[in-house]
């Protein structure tokens, strides 16, 4: 697998990583890449339980109306 390219530019580095990760998926089993992806996603799902905002506050931040 090709090495991950790096750049001084953060935006460019992020795009390099997206391409690298897509290649990783192609070259590894769903189980392998899925387990790695799930570490990130499951931790966000866990932390979401402690997100402190009410529906009203959350929708206010989004610029949306809340009738609750």
């Amino acid at each position: 697998m090709a090495k991950l390219k790096v750049s001084q530019d953060n935006r460019e580095s992020r795009f390099f990583f997206v391409a690298y990760w897509a290649q990783y998926i192609k070259e590894h089993s769903d189980k392998e890449w899925g387990e790695q992806q799930n570490v990130l996603i499951n931790s966000q799902m866990h932390n979401a339980k402690y997100y402190p905002f009410s529906p009203k506050k959350y929708l206010e931040m989004k610029g949306e109306k809340c009738l609750r």
Partner: protein
């Protein structure tokens, strides 16, 4: 990669299902008893491997009569969801009828949430015509076509996050994507949104 195209409209995924996928599956198992849906936006790229999380999952549902919607809404509440925008049946439905999205989350939480809306224009309706079924280990999730997803991310939404989602799908499916279709959507987006 085990990800397999069963046919033009179906992908089979062998990845271990994560908690976000379960959240989506739990919601759509209920709504699909009442109405057709299609998932759009960032979750499509995430379901197909993109290494990021999200706070919301967007989906279109076909317009539904009020009586039927209220049955659906009550079933969602019984299953542990709440609507962030309102609680009252009439108020929740009035959002949708006025073409305003409503958000559902697990009761007591605000994120992640599912943002549900009726299709407004031809492009929105197209999402149903060209949807793809993604078969996971715990159920099927219907997503919009990859070409439409890429075109919207690149030529309409356009944030870095959207461009990265588009790049992920382009890199992953470069041998399968129909470039003409992406261009068609690009032109339609210009006509519809200027």
């Amino acid at each position: 990669m085990d990800m397999e195209w069963v046919n033009e409209r179906k992908i089979r995924l062998d990845k271990p299902v994560n908690e976000l996928d379960r959240f989506v599956l739990r919601f759509i198992r209920i709504i699909e008893n009442y109405v057709d849906y299609v998932i759009i936006s960032g979750y499509v790229a995430i379901l197909l491997g993109r290494s990021r999380a999200t706070e919301d999952v967007d989906l279109f549902v076909k317009p539904i009569e009020k009586k039927e919607f209220i049955k659906l809404y009550h079933q969602l509440k019984e299953a542990g969801f709440w609507c962030l925008n309102a609680d009252d049946d009439d108020e929740v439905y009035s959002y949708l009828k006025d073409n305003i999205a409503i958000r559902f989350a697990i009761k007591g939480q605000t994120i992640p949430n599912l943002e549900l809306k009726f299709p407004k224009n031809r492009l929105d309706w197209d999402a149903f015509a060209e949807l793809i079924e993604v078969e996971t280990k715990e159920g099927v999730i219907k997503i919009c076509s990859l070409e439409k997803q890429i075109a919207f991310k690149m030529f309409y939404l356009g944030s870095d996050k959207d461009l990265e989602d588009a790049k992920h799908l382009e890199e992953l499916f470069k041998d399968r994507l129909n470039k003409e279709k992406i261009k068609k959507y690009k032109d339609l987006i210009r006509v519809e949104y200027g």
